[in-house]
Symmetry: C2
Subunit: 366 residues, 2 copies
């Protein structure tokens, strides 16, 4: 029997609506969901049954509240389809599994320098690591996202990663998917995923989230969503020029932010005694330009930057205060998510996708 398109669309919408209520902070029973959504109790029950069958929702034991029939609270099922997060860093690979409730169930990061590698070697190592964490988590996998330290085009191809010179136009998603028995793998820029992770952890809706590593990137949040630019490549703050005649950059330019504020310039063997102050100043200069161009009231320093210590933050603040002429100023803070923000963001992006449209997963389950 075929269902008319209209009804099908409405049901899919309502599945997301009900799951959204179940995912909310307050434990709700079927009756509670009906009250909050305006759907009938019959409709809610039918949708809840479907979500339970798909492994997305679980119904806890009835808790006796007021008078009448006891209400059984609904929760997201921590045994349900989980998100697989993957990451290729310049000097490591990482994999983690985040369950539907947002909990990190397994995570592993392995040092592995890819600067001289062709992609194949690194992707093989990453796929092996992924298989390990998936086996250890013992959860069904709804999908995967891989965080990459370079420019990812709208087609998901890694076009270029200045610190991985041999990675040019690599279809990382399909290459990993083939190694992972067909798990769908979406590729995204690591700084974009770290910015989303920041937002999902309660960070500001409008902000530039800078991800400090060997490379420097940023994810730009506007109205709580990622700002994509014309084609999803926005936020490449690492190649904003802070010193026009400065050191050559791996990107082919000169004096890019990354050459002064990348973690190797900051803490590597050639770093001078003033390296942190210089990096902070350079970050402040680049961020002043970004604030003027993008009109964002907040900056979050993430990745390896929080570990550098207060002098970096102080220098960034001082530079922004001297250079930004906005009436309200710019709020500068350090991320508390640690250096795995992008990896967790990658896994959480899958979970968020399931929560936003459970009907797609249910359709795929068959």
């Amino acid at each position: 029997m075929s269902v008319p398109a209209g009804q099908h669309t409405v049901r899919r919408h309502n599945l997301a609506l009900v799951l959204g209520e179940v995912a909310g902070p307050e434990p709700l029973s079927r009756a509670g969901v009906a009250a909050r959504t305006g759907l009938t109790r019959g409709t809610v029950s039918s949708l809840v049954e479907e979500l339970i069958a798909a492994g997305l929702v679980t119904e806890l034991a009835a808790a006796r509240g007021g008078p009448g029939r006891p209400a059984s609270p609904l929760r997201l099922d921590p045994r349900g389809p989980a998100g697989l997060g993957l990451e290729v860093r310049v000097d490591a690979v990482g994999a983690c599994v985040v369950d539907l409730t947002g909990a990190v169930r397994v995570q592993r990061t392995v040092p592995s320098d890819h600067r001289d590698d062709v992609p194949d070697a690194a992707l093989g190592r990453l796929a092996a690591l992924a298989a390990e964490v998936v086996a250890e988590a013992g959860l069904p996998i709804a999908g995967a996202t891989v965080a990459l330290p370079g420019v990812v085009g709208p087609d998901g191809v890694l076009e270029r990663a200045p610190n991985l010179p041999r990675w040019v136009d690599v279809a990382v998603g399909p290459a990993l998917g083939a190694r992972l028995r067909g798990v769908p793998v979406r590729a995204a820029n690591e700084a974009d995923l770290a910015a989303l992770a920041e937002r999902w952890a309660g960070g500001p809706a409008d902000a530039i989230v800078v991800s400090g590593g060997i490379g420097v990137g940023a994810g730009v949040l506007l109205g709580g969503a990622l700002f994509a630019g014309a084609s999803g490549r926005a936020g490449e703050i690492g190649h904003v020029v802070v010193d026009p005649d400065g050191r050559p950059c791996h990107c082919g330019g000169r004096g890019c932010l990354e050459t002064v504020a990348g973690l190797e310039a900051l803490t590597g063997p050639e770093a001078g005694p003033e390296a942190v102050r210089e990096a902070g100043r350079a970050l402040g200069i680049a961020l002043a330009g970004a604030v003027h161009l993008l009109d964002v009231p907040a900056v979050v320093l993430g990745g390896g930057y929080p570990g550098v210590g207060p002098p970096l933050l102080d220098a960034v603040r001082a530079e922004l205060q001297a250079r930004v002429f906005s009436r309200t100023g710019v709020e500068v803070s350090c991320s508390t998510l640690g250096t795995d923000a992008a990896l967790h963001g990658a896994a959480t992006a899958v979970v968020q996708g399931v929560l936003a449209d459970p009907g797609a997963l249910i359709g795929a389950q068959g």
Copy 2:
């Protein structure tokens, strides 16, 4: 008799739909509009009558085409409600009237240096100029937009204009409206209006349009629309830092693009022999950062820049080529709209508003 909200909304939507067809490149009769919109001929005729009564549409003499009743082509009425464009420049005021068909009917610009002025004096001069052009045009005025050389907040207040130090938090729109017998005056950043003008003239949908004057600003187009940032203040490229230890800027910072590439630095008495090359280089450096942050594939140099000549454009292109690592490169061109792009854009913004929602104007008329 009151009309139910639903019907009212539908009628307003259909008025815009019909006017949009009339505004299109191809002359259409009522029957032609009905065929293209899917509305009944009776509905179209009733909407067309309303648009004619409001002075927005005119029906030309019947042209005998094929067999049957001759079709009378509908056109936008050049005698209908027009847009008043106003502009406060650092060193001039301007006013123009653009009719519904997009034609500039009257325009006047008067030198008037406002750097030491309080707003009142300039606004008085601008209002007098506006009254002159309105009288000369002899058209009903649907509304006005005023282009301003500074940051305009979401509430329409000019917060700050670095080259007009005494203009701080000025409600320019209401101040002009009061002087213009209540014509509604909306305030907007001049570079934003120039960017929209570029788009309305057939320019690229995704671009940074730089407006070179005594100050330097930019309007950012994404998907054909203005990119606003978090609160409408995006695009302040003039205060992107190109030389961290450079000259002090009126904004309070140092080494801002404006200090090297503003028209006074470029062509003023203190400009050195290399000024154009230095300005081009600085523009290229700032634009490289903007392209990396905003992800736009095109740059249009407008305002006074096209008048500076090819060496400026060449220097910008060379710098962008050396510094942008996008796979597709950046298309750099000069605007052909001249230094009045913002002023014309201001008037055209009013006309575009009428075309997008004629029901609002008809409601205000009636």
